[in-house]
């Protein structure tokens, strides 16, 4: 019966969950307070912006692309918000709508450049990253505090959990974003197109999918998420700073890869990315709790995990391509174009 749930698609996710549970168990064995709702609440609040970025990044990566501009767009959003609210006295709701629309348009521009210029997403989004970071620094090089009553209410809004923990509004937004991302990717026609595009762009086109439109929408969605992450970050710190989120795009990509989404596209989902975000947060929390290790161990641990996951994913693909489908044999088509195995495919091999 295990075969029903364990297949090429779910194995990386399962591996991620197992690693997460093991790390959490190790942490809890050493520091029982880490099991408390306070630490769990902190984990969600402190990684809310990263989670939201990871949702957008998952969609782009599933579509076979990459987006290096998300951290810069997030930084630009925080500065723009601070300027609009603090400088121009704009009501926060209007400022939110403006930056979200701006983020979406910016992403659509990236998508259009990727599609029409036939340029690699890596280069286009790298350009976009410089552009966004430059604009942010042009607006202000200082960190601008936001003093606004409505803002303080939003930033402080939280559900009290037992044990001194809090489920903050920003954590709630992150969880809702993951739910929405899951529905978008796995429950809509758009999601199916994203998977098709990432699986094989040429076949997707032959199947009648408008690849240009899909590419533009995918990047628009990702930048929209980056703008949302910017809003969340500005609520988190009640300020705007142009250098916010430097390098955070790489953390988001790491979360996506650890979560079992293939960088080659066509395989993955947001649930794994969620765990990927939590793993990163957990390692940092543990290192802080320990208090004697250098925080750079986080990077080493994440690097090691990333490498292990990439190796495992590759292994799974190679193994399943050769032996995965009973009857298909070594002549099975390449993994990226292979259809999803039927639920019972691996069942005969289970005891």
């Amino acid at each position: 019966m295990m075969g029903r749930f364990v297949n090429t698609r779910t194995l990386p996710l399962l591996a991620t969950v197992v690693v997460f549970v093991l790390i959490y168990a190790a942490c809890a064995a050493q520091y029982p307070t880490m099991l408390g709702l306070r630490v769990m609440g902190n984990l969600l609040t402190d990684n809310a912006f990263l989670g939201i970025l990871a949702v957008g990044m998952t969609v782009v990566v599933v579509a076979g692309g990459i987006d290096l501009s998300v951290g810069a767009v997030m930084g630009l959003t925080t500065v723009a918000l601070a300027r609009l609210i603090e400088g121009a006295g704009m009501p926060p709701a209007l400022a939110f709508a403006l930056v979200l629309a701006g983020g979406g348009l910016f992403g659509a521009g990236i998508g259009a450049a990727v599609h029409y210029l036939k340029a690699p997403a890596f280069i286009v989004t790298l350009t976009a990253m410089f552009l966004a970071r430059g604009c942010a620094l042009l607006i202000s090089t200082d960190s601008i505090p936001i003093h606004n009553a409505a803002y303080d209410t939003l930033a402080g809004a939280a559900l009290a959990l037992p044990g001194g923990g809090r489920l903050t509004l920003v954590a709630g937004i992150m969880l809702a974003t993951f739910l929405a991302g899951g529905v978008l990717l796995h429950g809509t026609r758009f999601g199916a197109r994203v998977f098709a595009l990432g699986g094989n762009a040429h076949f997707a086109q032959l199947m009648g999918i408008n690849t240009g439109r899909t590419t533009i929408l995918v990047h628009a969605f990702c930048s929209l998420m980056a703008a949302l992450a910017g809003i969340v970050f500005s609520l988190y710190t009640r300020s705007g700073y142009a250098l916010t989120g430097t390098g955070v795009e790489l953390d988001a990509i790491a979360a996506v890869v650890i979560g079992g989404t293939l960088l080659t596209g066509g395989v993955g989902g947001v649930a794994g990315s969620f765990i990927g975000v939590l793993i990163q947060g957990l390692i940092l929390t543990w290192i802080t709790f320990d208090g004697t290790l250098s925080s750079w161990w986080t990077k080493i641990a994440i690097g090691t995990l990333l490498f292990a996951f990439i190796a495992v994913q590759r292994l799974i693909l190679v193994v399943s391509a050769r032996y995965g489908r009973p009857g298909a044999g070594p002549t099975a088509p390449s993994p990226s174009t292979r259809p999803r195995p039927s639920p019972g495919a691996a069942a005969p091999s289970a005891p």
Partner: protein
């Protein structure tokens, strides 16, 4: 085919479990030493390790804690505010007795410091102030007077060049920190009194040697040859980079171009002893030990300390450089 599938899959899941177990065991092995909770536990969220000065501050924080029997939980934020907020939240969750925070930027701390206050954990700011309407969020701030540091540097330069016309270039620190604005402001105040001193160019060197060198190279190319009379850098590391750039341009630092910088790290004393640098304004790195003493006194008699505890800003010149270098080189 089916017979083959089974063992392969098993091997695979074993491998994955193996990786998990390795992480698990690694985690256990790495942190077995943290059971005893005698005396005070203090969490210190440090900005990073971008300069020699900051490394010395960290080293003195560790040494000072050991001397006083304090358990120090140290976290390096790698220049990222979100990491500092995470660290402070973790310290609160752990229930430390006090938190030292060297804030990377001035704004955005109200929320998390509010949580520390709610948990009755005193917070002492180190080295930098924060921008908040509610000063009750922290117990005190142990910092130098960063405007005064700039003034000391500016006054020294005005005295050094006397009435001679002098075009000065400035290498700033990382943008956004109050420290940078203040060191600039103090320096400008001091040179404003001398009409012969002109600040002609200013650019950020991000507090690093590499960037300081790059910025100085840019200045040397942009200005007419021989027209730069002095360089002012917001820290010694950038100045050491700039000294290298000056040498590579075929000029003699300390003679052709005067140098004045801030921090007092060993390498700048070495440069002064070698005749490559002219002056440095010391930023005392023993901020954490001062904070421990304030904290211990506060816990004993519950009298709140002043909101701002200033550390001295002393200027050093080449005459004492060799001795100062010998005194400091092990600290950094």
């Amino acid at each position: 085919m089916d017979m083959k599938t089974l063992p392969r899959r098993r091997t695979l899941s074993r491998r994955i479990l193996g990786i998990g177990a390795a992480v698990f065991l690694g985690g256990l092995a790495a942190g077995c030493d943290s059971g005893d909770k005698k005396g005070l536990t203090v969490g210190f969220s440090q900005i990073g390790s971008e300069s020699g000065w900051r490394a010395a501050e960290t080293k003195l924080a560790r040494q000072g804690a050991e001397q006083r029997g304090i358990t120090l939980k140290f976290s390096d934020a790698q220049q990222r505010q979100e990491n500092q907020i995470k660290a402070v939240r973790s310290f609160i969750a752990q229930g430390v007795d006090a938190i030292l925070l060297a804030p990377v930027v001035s704004s955005g701390w109200d929320e998390v410091l509010g949580e520390a206050k709610a948990a009755n954990i005193p917070v002492i700011l180190l080295d930098r102030q924060i921008d908040t309407p509610n000063v009750d969020l922290y117990l005190t701030a142990v910092t130098s007077d960063t405007i005064e540091e700039g003034r000391v540097a500016g006054r020294w330069l005005a005295g050094k060049v006397q009435g001679r016309d002098c075009r000065i270039v400035e290498i700033q620190g990382t943008v956004g920190a109050s420290l940078v604005a203040n060191r600039k402001k103090g320096f400008e105040e001091a040179i404003a009194t001398a009409p012969n001193l002109h600040l002609v160019r200013t650019q950020s060197g991000e507090f690093t040697r590499a960037k300081g060198k790059e910025v100085m190279e840019g200045f040397l190319k942009a200005e007419a040859p021989g027209s730069i009379c002095a360089v002012y850098a917001h820290n010694d590391d950038m100045m050491i980079g700039a000294i290298q750039a000056i040498k590579e341009a075929g000029l003699k630092p300390g003679t052709d171009i005067l140098t004045v910088s801030i921090d007092g790290v060993p390498d700048i004393f070495k440069a002064m002893a070698d005749g490559d640098a002219n002056a440095t304004v010391e930023l005392a790195p023993d901020m954490a030990p001062r904070a421990y003493d304030i904290l211990l006194a506060y816990r004993k008699d519950h009298a709140p300390p002043p909101k701002w505890v200033q550390t001295p800003s002393k200027l050093y010149e080449p005459d004492t450089a060799a001795a100062e270098y010998a005194r400091r080189k092990d600290l950094y």
